[in-house]
């Protein structure tokens, strides 16, 4: 009964979210039609919807969508592997944490995308540059939230591990990391947001790759409905990745 009502409330929330989106689009449509919003800056939402089949057919959107997805996927994997490892290192060595934590936090605020010429020099005009910039942009939140999650592990759980004489590696894999996972996933989601913004941004800037490049081309042609349609695919990429991380988190952290 409780499960059913919970499911019901979740479906209700989804429906409410969808209804809010439709209402917002309808409002924009109305404001554009009555001239409050200039239609040369913001096209009609109905025009944007109508442009989607066109850009799918003419602009090879699905291929570009897949290209961006791949870049985001690689950046996410690097963020998970390297970001969590660096976070664990900072947790393990207090002196390292005290020395670096402020710098890592400062990195989160740094406009890394502006350093794209440097990445171009190192990696060339390739997907590697885009992935590297996305990874660098998303690294700080993953490290910081990993440290936060590990530090917040309840002492009693660590004591349970000690009472069973766990080795340092067992203590990490069996207790610290599972206990820290909810915070780690918050970091991963934040990192993913930064990574995705930067990936699409760099694709746009260097006119290479997937959706960012398409947005650049369409904007240069002043095809505004098509540009906004391509942005809808960027949002779809984001939705896919968030849904995946949410499922992964639920699978890895039952009961937390």
């Amino acid at each position: 009964m409780m499960v059913r009502s919970f499911q019901g409330s979740r479906n209700g929330a989804r429906l409410f979210g969808l209804a809010t989106l439709v209402a917002a689009l309808a409002l924009i449509e109305w404001l554009v039609r009555i001239g409050v919003i200039n239609r040369y800056v913001v096209p009609l939402p109905t025009q944007i919807l109508a442009s989607i089949p066109r850009i799918v057919a003419e602009e090879n959107v699905l291929h570009r969508f897949w290209q961006t997805m791949q870049e985001v996927l690689w950046a996410s994997l690097l963020l998970a592997v390297i970001g969590i490892a660096l976070g664990a290192l900072l947790y393990r060595f207090t002196i390292l944490r005290q020395a670096c934590e402020t710098w890592v936090a400062a990195l989160a605020a740094a406009p890394i995308v502006l350093a794209y010429p440097l990445f171009l020099v190192i990696f060339g005009r390739s997907a590697t540059t885009i992935v590297a910039i996305g990874f660098a942009a998303g690294l700080a939140p993953v490290i910081l939230k990993t440290v936060e999650g590990l530090t917040a592990t309840r002492q009693v759980l660590i004591d349970v591990g000690r009472s069973f004489r766990l080795s340092a590696a067992q203590q990490f894999w069996k207790i610290l990391l599972p206990a820290a996972l909810p915070a780690v996933f918050v970091g991963l989601r934040l990192g993913l947001i930064f990574a995705m913004i930067n990936i699409v941004g760099v694709e746009f800037l260097i006119n290479f790759g997937g959706l960012g490049q398409l947005i650049n081309e369409l904007a240069e042609r002043y095809d505004l409905p098509g540009t906004y349609g391509a942005i809808c695919f960027v949002i779809a990429t984001s939705i896919v990745f968030f849904a995946c991380t949410e499922r992964l988190e639920r699978w890895l952290t039952p009961g937390q």
Partner: protein, 288 residues
Amino acid sequence: MADLSTPRSAASAVPGSGGAMLDVAHITKRYRTAEGVTTAVDDMSFCVAPGEFVSIIGPSGCGKSTVFNIIGGLLGDYEGRVSVGGDVIAQTHPAIGMVFQEESTFPWRNVLDNVAFPLEIAGVAKQKRRERAAHFVAMVGLRGFERHLPAELSGGMRQRVALARTLASEPRILLMDEPFAALDEQTRLLLGDKVLQIQQELRQTTLLITHNLTEAVQLSDRVLVMTYRPGHLKREVAIDLPHPRDSEVVSSDAFGHYVAEIWHDLREEASRGIRADETRVLEAGTHR
């Protein structure tokens, strides 16, 4: 009732004697604080015989948890000696299984996997450890809840999971630090029954740290009363209530007599503790 100076009953082992399962000899623990050195535990000695259930009771701040952590091997840098079956120990020891006051189940593991945890660490094969874990889950009365996550259980059920997990490591000494402190009185009494039943079934040597008088008398063969800080043993009370025992015993005259006797000693210490706290607060206010 016996003063510490008087000889103990035959059931109880004498510190330093070969027959003790757990021998705690002259432990003293001092902490360095901003105000200077504080002695938390001062020259405490006692022992627990095989199969015996001993409780340590004392007022808040008397150093009970310090004693628990020293015996469990979680706290070092103390004077004195702790031995298990004659072997002096200096850190966590496989013979000692600990149940903590705070909720300590792993929220990401279901009941069966929580209980199987020490077996997993010991490298027991998956099928075998699941069978062993199921046995201990049943022993604490949680059959049917194997697949439940701790978040789906009550506080009392979660503490039973923690108890089963410790029992699954098959310790020679079960060391418990106020495991039912967060539970209501009725649940606490009924869980006491369960602990007694398990203790009698396994003939498990048990040391319980508690501040609860009825719990100490209900469960124990002996109760050791601690003074307020610096904590040391004030008195030892042998509980001569019949076995097998359950929570019905709380309504007997003998039970009431033991509770009154222990409270007589404890009241003085608890009052000292309250006075010390009040003085500390007043002094902190003066210095502000």
